[in-house]
């Protein structure tokens, strides 16, 4: 009887982007039944010795693994293994187990298993999922010790055949750490979240990873080959020859395309009919500036000032900030930088803010609303920024403005800070450019009023989408409604850009859609002259700009504005991008 192997598509949640093809390897972590055996009094020392040897071997394993990760510069992974090493020295696993073996006169495996299962049970009762997740570390150690006790060769991801797609219920950190990147082409798991250690290590190693895949109905014996699409979360089991060929070609293209783009850092960012775009970077930390320069970005379009201080217990002082901004500006090599004042609250908190939990933090006291309440801290930040104004090309931007009066009030405090410094005799630049974020629909609607009161606007699309559609993207029940191509969003962007252009002030788009090359032509067509993206996307966006024309862009924008559904718009811009840059299969799915 011939085995009919039909192509089967499973849908999961993508954790790590990328595409892989390989043979399956089922890496199951079933608990083996461990027999309980009584040990004679005279043999008990030997039994304890056997346990100690297993511990020593386990420590050696972990040390070796840790060294391997350090060599590969995967520091987070090495840190996790450092913790595993501490656990292997934990008195609960050393003295306590030894004592119990002597007391119970039972074999080491069974005593150890009983004890560690008690700890695991305790972990299961922890309500906080972040802490409960650490259970996996203990399971990992348990498996290692037991396998040494049983002297059975442990299945290790280090020894698997090359090109394997690893299927598992869940993965532990050392599984992923052991994984020979050359051999493992992808991970597919039934469980595991984006915060799991395994996800961190997989991301650092660049291994495609899809989770939440239902493997129950899969007949494992019939799986011969698998394609994992980390872009869509699709797992294709036993792909047809046609599918396989398609993915193979795609993989090759992907690599050579990215390599080519990286060599083009000095190419001007302009359409092929000569329309120039300012392409800058969104930056959180000072060290990211190196990549900005390497990829030829033209400045920092958005410096999220709060990130450096998120670990602080309270608002940083003026001096503390001055030092950081000064060092930042000195590394700009004369390029412009827009410093956005603190956007805290919502999903980011300074530790000291023990304000009562808000029922609706995203609609609550965050960003400019918080700054206007904490005026002394706001002024301290503005003073720190103003003091570096002569050392480079620095602009100030206010986050989450939702009305004209908030902008005017913010500017009043800025003026106060300016006048104070002046009086103190601090040398200052005459004109400081001031801009405001447009990320709330109410601000977009009054863009004409805001445009009269500031020097530039910056559209933050992530929040604009979330607020326009009233969708919390972290809520699984509704995040399917989150769509950046919704006609309402496109119209709001169009409105803001038109008003900014009418008042002759620049408008930047930052946020995810600026970094998604499928949107580039549309944004240009809507009249956007400036884009700000995370540095690593600069090569892709530069290429997207250089592959289109302003005439095509205007036509595309016109077409998009006629469409009525998010899905139609997405399809149109994706098709347009595919025609312009057919070789970028990272986005052309």
């Amino acid at each position: 009887m011939s085995v009919q192997t039909q192509e089967l598509r499973l849908q999961g949640e993508p954790i790590c982007r990328g595409v892989a093809i390989g043979a399956p390897l089922f890496f199951t972590l079933k608990d083996e039944l461990i027999p309980e055996v009584s040990i004679q009094k005279q043999d008990i020392d030997r039994e304890v010795q056997r346990y100690i040897r297993a511990l020593t071997r386990s420590r050696n394993d972990v040390k070796k693994l840790k060294k391997k990760l350090l060599n590969e510069k995967i520091d987070e992974g090495a840190e996790i293994l450092e913790a595993h090493l501490e656990m292997l020295h934990d008195p609960l696993l050393t003295n306590q187990v030894e004592k119990a073996i002597r007391r119970k006169c039972k074999n080491a495996e069974s005593v150890f298993q009983t004890m560690i299962d008690q700890y695991l049970k305790k972990f299961k009762t922890i309500a906080d999922p972040f802490f409960r997740d650490r259970m996996k570390d203990i399971q990992d150690i348990k498996r290692r010790i037991i396998s040494h006790l049983r002297n059975s060769a442990q299945v290790s991801l280090a020894e698997i055949p090359s090109g394997s797609v690893v299927f598992s219920g869940d993965l532990t950190a050392s599984d992923t750490a052991e994984a020979n990147t050359e051999a493992v082409s992808a991970f597919v798991t039934e469980r595991g979240g984006a915060t799991s250690h395994a996800a961190i290590v997989a991301k650092a190693k660049g291994i495609p990873y899809v989770t939440n895949v239902n493997l129950e109905q899969l007949d494992l014996s019939k799986v011969k080959q698998v394609i994992v699409d980390g872009r869509t979360g699709e797992v294709i089991v036993n792909p047809s020859l046609e599918t396989e060929k398609r993915y193979q070609t795609m993989q090759k293209q992907l690599v050579s395309h990215m390599e080519k783009l990286k060599t083009q850092a000095s190419f001007p960012v302009e359409t092929y009919d000569g329309y120039k775009i300012l392409l800058s970077a969104n930056v959180d930390m000072e060290h990211e500036l190196e990549m900005l320069h390497r990829h030829g970005g033209c400045g920092v379009g958005l410096f999220r000032s709060e990130h450096i201080f998120l670990k602080n217990e309270c608002f940083p002082t003026e001096e503390e900030q001055y030092k950081i901004y000064r060092s930042l500006v000195s590394k700009m090599k004369g390029l412009p930088i827009v410093i956005r004042t603190f956007d805290i609250g919502g999903d980011k908190f300074l530790n000291h803010q023990q304000t009562p939990l808000e029922g609706n933090p995203f609609l609550g006291c965050r960003a400019i609303r918080l700054l206007l309440r904490e005026q002394d801290h706001f002024k301290a930040q503005l003073r720190a920024i103003l003091r570096v104004s002569l050392e480079g090309d620095v602009s100030i931007m206010f986050p989450m403005i939702s009305s004209l009066s908030e902008l005017i009030e913010s500017k009043r405090i800025l003026k106060k800070a300016y006048d104070e410094l002046k009086e103190e005799g601090v040398p200052l630049k005459k004109e400081i450019r001031v801009g405001c974020m447009v990320e709330v629909p109410s601000a977009a609607v009054v863009a004409d009023l805001l445009a009269k009161e500031c020097d530039f606007l910056s559209i933050g699309t992530n929040d604009l989408v979330q607020y326009s559609l009233a969708v919390d993207r972290t809520n699984h029940a509704v995040n399917g409604l989150y769509s950046s191509t919704d006609p309402s969003v496109i119209r709001l962007i169009k409105l803001v850009v038109t008003e900014a252009n009418r008042h002759s002030i620049p408008v930047t788009v930052c946020g995810e859609i600026a970094a998604d090359p499928r949107f580039t032509t549309l944004l240009l067509g809507l009249g956007v002259h400036e884009l700000s993206v995370a540095s690593r996307y600069i090569p892709t966006i530069r290429h997207a700009v250089r592959s289109t024309s302003i005439i095509e862009a205007s036509h595309l924008a016109e077409e998009v504005l006629k469409l009525m559904h998010a899905s139609e718009i997405e399809e149109l811009i994706t098709t347009a991008y595919r025609e312009n840059v057919p070789e970028d299969c990272f986005y052309n799915i």
Partner: protein, 88 residues
């Protein structure tokens, strides 16, 4: 010498794997006995698993007890590690 001191967990993520590793490493050569008391549970602070099982989140208050000849020095080191939020 027996010392007792209350401390607050300052770092955002609470006493997760990394801070717990820091604590255990810090106590590696301590001669005194050190315990943490949190939510009416007292554990050996030299045991990383016990610390993790406390699941102490940010803002938790933990009572440190140190007993032995170097208790004073060890206590100072621990307090300072908590104060600095374990450099997170």
């Amino acid at each position: 010498m027996k010392l007792t001191q209350k401390v607050q967990v300052k770092n955002e993520m609470g006493i997760h794997t990394r801070p717990a590793t820091v604590i255990v490493k810090l106590l590696q050569n301590a001669k005194c006995n050190v315990s943490f008391t949190y939510k009416r549970e007292t554990i050996n602070a030299k045991s990383i698993l016990s610390i993790l099982m406390l699941a102490a989140t940010q803002h938790s208050r933990i009572t440190i007890t140190a007993e032995g000849e170097d208790a004073d020095e060890v206590m100072q080191k621990l307090i300072s590690a908590f104060e600095r939020g374990f450099e997170e």
